[in-house]
Symmetry: C2
Subunit: 328 residues, 2 copies
DNA sequence: AATTAGCAATTGTTTTAAGCGAGTGCTAGG
DNA sequence: CCTAGCACTCGCTTAAAACAATTGCTAATT
């Protein structure tokens, strides 16, 4: 258990380091706590032994360790009131009534990324829970049609289907069947329904049922795997002073280009959670703050990713503010 | 007019520098041309006075200037036969019959970017010249419908339209009108046709014509401005030894993130053209090799962007090979 | 007239040394 | 328990020196 003064010191070290990216010396602190630098030094030895702070070399100031950041976030950080400026910028988006909610979120995160100089991730509401609203077919020419799938939430997916030697009537028949029997089914369950309820029927009525079945199966499959993803401020990492060597930059940028990896930051929890350094799977030199949001049946992830010395309270406030406004 | 030997020397300098990214010394060259280094030095002075090569400082080897690269590309470069490996990798894409041509191009460029370690750009076939095939409306709930626009080439665009207090019948009526009167029109001309032919009619028959007209106008407008764009291997720049300082990297990556700027590399010419350094608008430290491709009525741009010391002949061969295969 | 050998001169790079400054740890005294 | 004082450590800056690469020029050679 840390003493009051130890907590104060740790708090000062973390915040000082976050602001100035320079190791914090005992002298820096004693001014704020009016006691001598030697006293601070003694306490710092204790804090170091407990693993909350670190030295770069024998005679450097102290830097927060991962454990130090963790403690700061869990126990020391004070919620930061939103600044008027931050609020104003976001308000302009919220008040634009004509935008769909998804776009509001995406735009807001872009703003937040610009405001903070961190990178923002929006992992789209998976359409998995959407229900099938309608299937449409538009003939293109003798050999191809466009199949269009619409969900009840307004997601649209389309796929060109090559139908050599299949009569338009047969295609229409199939579409009709799907519209009669599968509408209202959640996208995630359409595949199996297609297989067990539609396939047996079309195989009776439709000559080239196999090719048609395959095509639609494909189309639905594509749909349910397609999740939107937005990344804003990828380059912001280059602005952070701790990312000053080309190798590290290459490393991070490469990771940010890796869709699969980015998708894996998906949030499971609707609280705002902080993952510092090795606590996240993405990269041990970054912190990820993320949360799950939900609108009606859809849910997605919003996340901020930046250096470990992130302005934690500011980012948390911003995300909280955004989440609160999503609700309305 | 350069002498045979001067051309040889310039060629060697360019190719040597492309390969090793190090200034080329007279000694490097004299081995290949069996004459003494002093002779080479004399020739190099001439080449430098003519502006084909440069020194970094009084006693460094020579580096090709922009003019040098230009001369090399125009007169000295020998076409490089495709290596078996390069060919093989691309063949696997070409032979995948089930892919639409657009995807083949996109995938091939990704391969080329991996093969060469440069960045590949595919600027999608503008849908401007497509003709309207059909407009579909799918009602979602009382207040919104999804409008879907399909072109004769199979491009699909959709937009959610909020229609408070508009009866479904009126929407359907409008759609019917569009389908009857506008189908077959090139997308680029739909807007004006909508304004002068449809608007007068619906304003008679449809109560809330203004909101409907606006919605469709918007949808078509979005469509015609939307061009697909693919960028592969953005990070490859980080691998190039000449991009070794953080500022330059930030610069380039920021530019590659700028959609508008990337779009502006659009090729006007169906020849393969090389734009070295300040010859392109993108960045004076890069070379862009680009060409326009055409499939049926659609056309787009494929481009490779990399350092000025690009493997010109290899890239040109690869693009040529790809273009040739697009034709089939 | 063209080529070449030889050499001084230039410049960047690496190495070494010295000095500075920021900061710590420890000791001894308040 | 706190603090003043001081020796010590270590990174950073600067200066000087030694090195390596390469050129330009001159004079000799072919």
């Amino acid at each position: 258990m840390l003493s009051k003064r130890q907590k104060d010191i740790l708090k000062i070290i973390v915040e000082h380091y976050i602001k100035l990216v320079r190791p914090v010396s005992s002298n820096n602190i004693c001014k704020l706590l009016n006691c001598s630098s030697a006293t601070i030094r003694n306490e710092m030895v204790t804090l170091e032994n407990l693993g909350f702070i670190e030295k770069m070399h024998t005679s450097s100031g102290r830097v927060p360790s991962e454990k130090g950041y963790r403690y700061y976030v869990d126990y020391l950080m004070e919620p930061k009131a939103m600044t008027g400026e931050d609020m104003l910028k976001l308000q302009t988006i919220f008040h634009n009534q004509s935008l769909p909610v998804n776009d509001v979120i995406a735009k807001s995160m872009t703003i937040i990324s610009e405001l903070t100089n961190y990178t923002a991730i929006v992992l789209g509401s998976s359409a998995q829970e959407n229900r099938l609203q309608q299937v449409e077919i538009v003939p293109l020419d003798k050999e191809a049609v466009i199949a269009i799938v619409i969900t009840d939430k307004g997601h649209v997916e389309h796929k060109r289907i090559e139908v050599p030697n299949v009569s338009l009537d047969e295609v229409k028949k199939t579409v009709e069947l799907i519209n009669n029997l599968v509408v209202g089914t959640p996208i995630s369950k359409v595949s199996s329904k297609l297989e067990f309820e539609i396939k047996p029927i079309i195989s009776k009525y439709v000559k080239q049922h196999e090719i048609l079945y395959q095509a639609f199966y494909q189309a639905f499959n594509d749909f349910s795997h397609k999740n939107s993803m937005q990344l804003s401020g990828k380059v912001n990492f280059l602005k952070q002073p701790e990312f000053d060597n080309v190798d590290k930059i290459r490393d991070i940028i490469t990771k940010l280009e890796d869709d699969e990896l980015v998708r894996s930051v998906k949030a499971e929890d609707s609280d705002i959670k902080v993952y510092i350094g090795s606590e996240n799977e993405f990269d041990e030199d970054v912190t990820i703050i993320k949360t799950k949001y939900t609108i009606d049946d859809e849910s997605g992830t919003i996340a901020i990713i930046g250096p470990k010395r992130m302005e934690y309270n500011r980012v948390v406030s911003l995300l909280e503010y955004l989440k609160e406004n999503i609700k309305r």
